[in-house]
Subunit: 108 residues, 2 copies
DNA sequence: CGTGTAAGGAATTCTGACACG
DNA sequence: CGTGTAAGGAATTCTGACACG
C-alpha cells in the first residue's frame, strides 16, 4: 500500500455527501458518532470526514435501526465482530511466525 | 459492480479536500477543469465532486505543469491515451464476438 | 497562459440546547 | 432513546472579474 490505506478506508467524504449517499440525516450521522458506532476523522478546521467503509457501516446501522435494534446493541455486535477479526489476525501472525522460524527471517 | 462504479471512480470528494490531497489551489483545480483536463460531477446545489481517480489525474497534471508542459499539451496527451484505451477495448470486444460465434450466445 | 486575489452571496458545517416521547 | 429543529457563527464553495505577465 502506497499510503497506509486503500480507497475504501481513506477519510475524505464530508457529512453532506455521506447524508446523500446513505439517506440518513446529518443529525443521525452525528448521533451515531456520539454513540461510538462510527469514527470520522476531522479536517484541520474541524469538519468530519468519512470513508467509503464508514458509509457502508452507516448503511448497516440504518438497517439495524429499522429493525428496531438500539444503538447500544449495535455497538455490542460491532465489538464482537471486532474481536473475531482480531482472533483471525492473531492466528495469521502465529502462522507467519512459524513459517519465519523454519524458513527464514524476512521482516514484514 | 454493485453501483456502476468502484470506490476509485465514485465522485464524492469536495474541492477543499482535493486541494489538501493534491497540494493544488482551488483556483488551479477549477482552471484545469476549464481547460478540460478534469471532469468533476456536481452536487444538487452545484458543488464540484471528484473521485480518487480525479485526484490521481490532478497529481499527474501537477507534475507535467512543473516540467513546464502547457495545459493544451497535457490535453493532447490525454486524448492520445484515451484512444489507445478505446483501441484495446475494441479488440477485446472483437475477440468476445469470435468466441460467442463459435461457442454459444451468452449475452454479456 | 496560468494563477492570485478581493467581492458578494448562497450553502455547509459545527456545537449546545430545547422538544417530544 | 433517537431524532427534529431553530440559533449563531465560522468556514466552504461558487461565479465573474481584474491583475500580472
Amino acid at each position: 500500500m502506497e499510503h497506509g490505506t486503500s480507497y475504501k478506508e481513506r477519510k475524505v467524504i464530508t457529512i453532506g455527501v455521506v447524508s446523500e449517499l446513505t439517506g440518513l440525516s446529518e443529525r443521525q450521522i452525528r448521533y451515531y458518532e456520539e454513540r461510538k458506532l462510527i469514527f470520522p476523522e476531522r479536517s484541520p478546521r474541524g469538519n468530519r470526514k468519512y470513508s467509503f467503509a464508514d458509509v457502508e457501516q452507516l448503511v448497516d446501522i440504518a438497517n439495524k435501526r429499522e429493525e428496531g435494534v438500539q444503538t447500544f446493541e449495535i455497538r455490542q455486535e460491532m465489538l464482537k465482530e471486532k474481536k473475531k477479526e482480531e482472533a483471525k489476525n492473531i492466528k495469521k501472525e502465529m502462522l507467519r511466525g512459524q513459517i519465519n522460524a523454519r524458513f527464514g527471517v524476512q521482516k514484514n
